[in-house]
């Protein structure tokens, strides 16, 4: 135990070292650490937020996809309906057209037949007159006996 002036020297050195450390060493190092800690904390918070955003966006996208699928299904359904409707309509139209054409044909045939009948009747009357002329041997005035002829024609 020999305490001597070294003690004073060391005390001064100690004081100076602590002062220097307090002034120039501790604040920048500790400041850097704390600032980095803050940065990391901010970064982690941002990551968490981004994760939440991503989750939300994914949910939204899934919902939209579901909606779109439903819409697509609707549209397809409608299109199918419309298609059957069109086919039905066209079939109906075709049927109608056919009926019309058939009816028209039948009317035409009827008209022709009537016309031919008329013709035939007329020719019959002419033939009758010609026959009668041959039988009687003289000319018959057609106009004089027209009432008889008409009666004949009507009877045919």
């Amino acid at each position: 135990m020999n305490l001597n002036a070294t003690l004073i020297g060391e005390l001064i050195a100690f004081t100076v070292f602590v002062w220097f450390c307090m002034k120039y060493v501790w604040p920048p190092l500790n400041g850097a650490i704390e600032e980095r800690q803050n940065k990391i904390a901010d970064g982690l918070a941002a990551t968490e937020r981004a994760e939440k955003d991503l989750e939300l966006a994914q949910a939204k996208a899934a919902e939209q996809l579901k909606e779109a699928k439903a819409q697509a299904a609707d549209i397809i359904e409608q299109a199918k309906k419309r298609a059957t409707q069109i086919v039905d309509e066209e079939t109906q139209k075709g049927h109608d057209e056919r009926e019309k054409i058939i009816a028209q044909g039948a009317a035409e045939v009827e008209a022709e037949r009537n016309r031919v009948k008329e013709d035939l009747r007329h020719q019959v009357s002419v033939l009758a007159v010609a026959g009668a002329e041959k039988i009687i041997g003289k000319e018959i005035d057609a106009s004089a006996h027209s009432d008889i002829l008409d009666k004949l024609v009507a009877e045919l």
Binding site: E10, L11, M22, V25, I33
Partner: protein, 285 residues
């Protein structure tokens, strides 16, 4: 003199003697010439090594502080920040007041004391023998007259200086936080107290005695713990170094064990400093 140095006890004595410097009537004198110089003797080896190591500490940490970035730190910065954070966490856990001094004080004590203790792991004869060689060839001294104690913490002057520094801070913090009257009340009105005023007055001397002893014991325990541990460790290194070839395994084992001791003692000194200052700053008693 030379004959004395050749014996074992002389060898040990040589290792345990500081290089002294003092001023006499004839100017600066060294070592044996300073035997009678009393208080005004300087242990130049303790001073040189401790201040040198302190400057190394400050240089390393200052260069880290200058280059410190808040972005991605380099390996060197990481290492320094690990120490800073370790000390900072200990301070935060123990010292609950607000002070910009405690943490740098703790850092300085921890690293500085660790570096000084670390000198203990340098084989005991290396630097003293080198100093003896230099003294002999460069200055024409007898190499036995060249003393070199390279572990500053084995010098009671250094540990006492640290403890006194801490003690001054303890008193300073006590007075700053509690006021002079609070500090005096703490010394005189505890641990014995009475509601009777007269009894209280009678108890003051006993309280003062006990509290003063408790207060003064703190720097003593700080100084002597560090000094005792390192001095004993150094002494055992010297003894091991004196037993010839067998020293190698023993030296290795003791050195490995000592790695623990030097870190632990630096840590203990730092922690006790924080605890004492925390006690000084807290009102509750």
């Amino acid at each position: 003199m030379a004959a004395e140095e050749l014996t074992l006890s002389g060898h040990i004595q040589h290792h345990l003697t500081n290089a002294k410097m003092c001023s006499t009537d004839a100017g600066l004198a060294f070592n044996k010439a300073c035997a009678d110089s009393g208080f005004w003797t300087w242990h130049v080896d303790t001073l040189a090594w401790s201040i040198g190591l302190g400057l190394i500490f400050l240089w390393i940490f200052r260069s880290a502080a200058k280059k410190s970035t808040t972005g991605v730190p380099g390996k060197f910065q990481c290492f320094i920040e690990m120490i800073v954070e370790f000390v900072g966490d200990n301070v935060k856990d123990t010292y609950h007041g607000k002070s910009s001094l405690i943490a740098p004080l703790a850092l300085t004590i921890f690293v500085w004391v660790f570096l000084m203790n670390l000198m203990d792991l340098i084989p005991v004869d290396f630097l003293p023998a080198f100093a003896g060689f230099v003294g002999e060839t460069a200055f024409g001294m007898d190499s036995h007259d060249v003393y070199m104690k390279i572990v500053p913490t084995t010098d009671i002057n250094l540990t006492a200086a640290l403890a006194i520094g801490v003690f001054i801070l303890m008193i300073g913090y006590s007075i700053k936080i509690k006021g002079i009257s609070g500090f005096i009340a703490e010394l005189t009105l505890h641990p014995f107290s009475s509601s009777n005023k007269l009894v209280q007055v009678i108890l003051i001397p006993f309280n003062l005695l006990l509290e003063t002893i408790a207060l003064v014991a703190k720097p003593f325990s700080l100084a002597l713990r560090l000094f005792g541990n390192l001095y004993a460790g150094e002494l055992i290194f010297i003894l091991i170094g004196a037993i010839g070839l067998m020293q190698l395994p023993l030296h290795f084992i003791w050195a490995v064990f000592h790695i623990l001791v030097i870190v632990l003692q630096a840590f203990v000194f730092m922690m006790l400093t924080i605890v004492y200052l925390s006690m000084a700053s807290s009102d509750s008693h």
